[in-house]
């Protein structure tokens, strides 16, 4: 029985990280405590670098990664916001840093409880984003994250819900070090700072390609950004391959970028991410008891977005209800936007409706999810569904 923070720290330890730099912030703090204890006791052969801020934490990981170390950091909320600039630098340099984001609401007003606004606000920084549904997935995804990151040359953010997972104990199978070593070989850097062969990284790169001092035509800014996008698209396959390999070795299934619950015969689908999607399975139980054919899709990977998988899984449904624990102000929940985009042009004629729930730690009950689905279904059947805006489950 371990909580989510312990699972993340154990995942990093089993991955034999070599440099850890993190700044404590609620609710991530126990991750930093556990890792510093591992290093202090000699259980983890790593440098634990104390820093004065999250910006510096990720700068340390970036530099350490450039000289060939496997690096780990963790943060939440305002800490992740403070890392924002470095998130771009790490992705642009294609460094396989792994970051655990313990999802927490972001101010104002001040709040330390769970929603997913922090990581969703970092959607376009070029990081792979994975959302764990339980503590087992936290541990498993941190280990897989290193394999994915180092194969795809992309940083990976493993996100899990603050308190709901970070401070809640659950049974977790912890693999042996030998088994993880077989799955995850030592890091071979794609690029390395070496005084014997001097290099500059991230020099001023202008819009157009340039011929370097050796006469080689090198990328301009756009070409480097194109490669980042291309790598993100290709990483869908890498994530699936690594998941398959992990499933074969450890017996837990990660073969797709999303997970499905009772979707085979579903005519109504609930879509969510993280622990909220697990809550949705309880709502689906109740709705099934009422005779509705309801299934659940949990988005495990949000970036790169598995649009084809989503369209394939949802195309047969007449109604899709998307629950978001974040909001793209002026539009709707970001996962709902993605779902609609994935369905566009797929030939599916599916009604999609969005609910914003659980912001700032507002409790989300399975009954509320089930009621929201029923209410939406009656609107669809009455031809009165307003698809223009997301509904909020709150008391305004």
């Amino acid at each position: 029985m371990i909580d989510g923070n312990r699972a993340a720290a154990l995942g990093a330890k089993l991955s034999r990280v070599q440099v850890v730099a993190a700044y404590p912030i609620t609710p991530q703090t126990p991750v930093t405590e556990a890792l510093s204890e591992f290093v202090e006791r000699g259980e983890l052969q790593a440098q634990y670098v104390n820093v004065e801020s999250e910006h510096s934490a990720l700068a340390v990981c970036s530099s350490a990664s450039l000289v060939g170390a496997r690096t780990f950091t963790a943060t939440s909320s305002h800490g992740l916001a403070y890392m924002h600039e470095m998130l771009h630098w790490v992705a642009g340099t294609r460094l396989p840093v792994v970051l655990a984001c313990v999802n927490r609401a972001i101010g104002a007003p001040w709040n330390v409880l769970n929603d997913q606004q922090d990581s969703m606000s970092q959607r376009d920084t070029g990081w792979i984003q994975m959302y764990a549904r339980n503590n087992q997935e936290i541990l498993d995804l941190v280990i897989q994250a290193y394999s994915i990151a180092e194969k795809a040359c992309l940083p990976v953010m493993v996100c899990y819900d603050g308190y709901v997972l970070s401070h809640t104990e659950m049974p977790v199978g912890v693999p042996s070090q030998d088994a993880v070593d077989r799955f995850l070989p030592p890091y071979k850097p794609h690029t390395i700072l070496d005084p014997g062969s001097p290099r500059n990284y991230n020099l001023v790169t202008l819009a157009n390609p340039r011929v370097n001092a050796e006469g080689v035509l090198c990328h301009g800014y756009m070409e480097i950004r194109y490669l980042l996008q291309e790598a993100m698209e290709k990483s869908k396959e890498t994530i699936a391959d690594v998941g398959r390999e992990f499933s074969d070795l450890f017996g837990r299934s990660y073969v797709k970028l999303l997970w499905e619950d009772r979707m085979q015969d579903a005519e109504i689908a609930i879509v969510a991410m993280g622990s909220l999607a697990m809550e949705a399975t309880v709502a689906a139980d109740a709705l099934r008891r009422d005779g509705l054919r309801v299934g659940v899709i949990g988005l495990r990977v949000f970036r790169p977005f598995p649009g084809r998988d989503v369209a394939g899984a949802l195309g047969r449904c007449r109604l899709v209800v998307v629950f978001d624990k974040s909001i793209s102000y002026g539009n709707e929940g970001a996962t709902c936007t993605e779902i609609k985009a994935a369905l566009y042009g797929s030939g599916a004629n599916t009604a999609v409706h969005n609910f914003i729930v659980g912001l700032g730690g507002r409790d989300v009950k399975a009954r509320e999810l089930a009621d929201a689905v029923k209410k939406t279904l009656s609107l669809v059947e009455g031809g009165a569904l307003n698809n223009e805006s997301a509904e909020w489950i709150c008391e305004i």
Binding site: N200, N212, H219, I224
Partner: protein
């Protein structure tokens, strides 16, 4: 042929002249040396060379007379500022193109 053949996946360079491209294109004003004032030119002796020492782009030659590599001079004007005899004037590029 595209840029993919360079094999880089991020912004990368090795030390060498012109690694950042023809940075002279950035120049707004051009340093022009008055050799009647410039100490090494006037005395025909290796002397001063403060412009060579301070130039952040290493485009000033340590020769008599001093030469400037306009392919890479960005026109920052530091040479004109540090010259103790005010031998370097910064002239707008527009005046040279007519």
């Amino acid at each position: 042929m595209g840029t993919r053949d360079c094999g880089h996946i991020c912004g990368e360079s090795s030390p060498g002249i012109g690694e950042a491209g023809k940075t002279g294109e950035w120049r707004d004003s051009r340093p022009v040396i008055d050799e009647d004032r410039c100490t090494p030119a006037r005395k025909n002796k290796p002397a001063c060379f403060l412009c060579w020492l301070y130039c952040p782009e290493a485009v000033m030659s340590k020769t008599i007379p001093v030469r400037i590599d306009m392919e890479y001079c960005k026109g920052c004007g530091i040479c004109a500022q540090v010259c103790p005899v005010h031998a370097i004037a910064m002239i707008e590029e527009g005046r040279f193109t007519a």
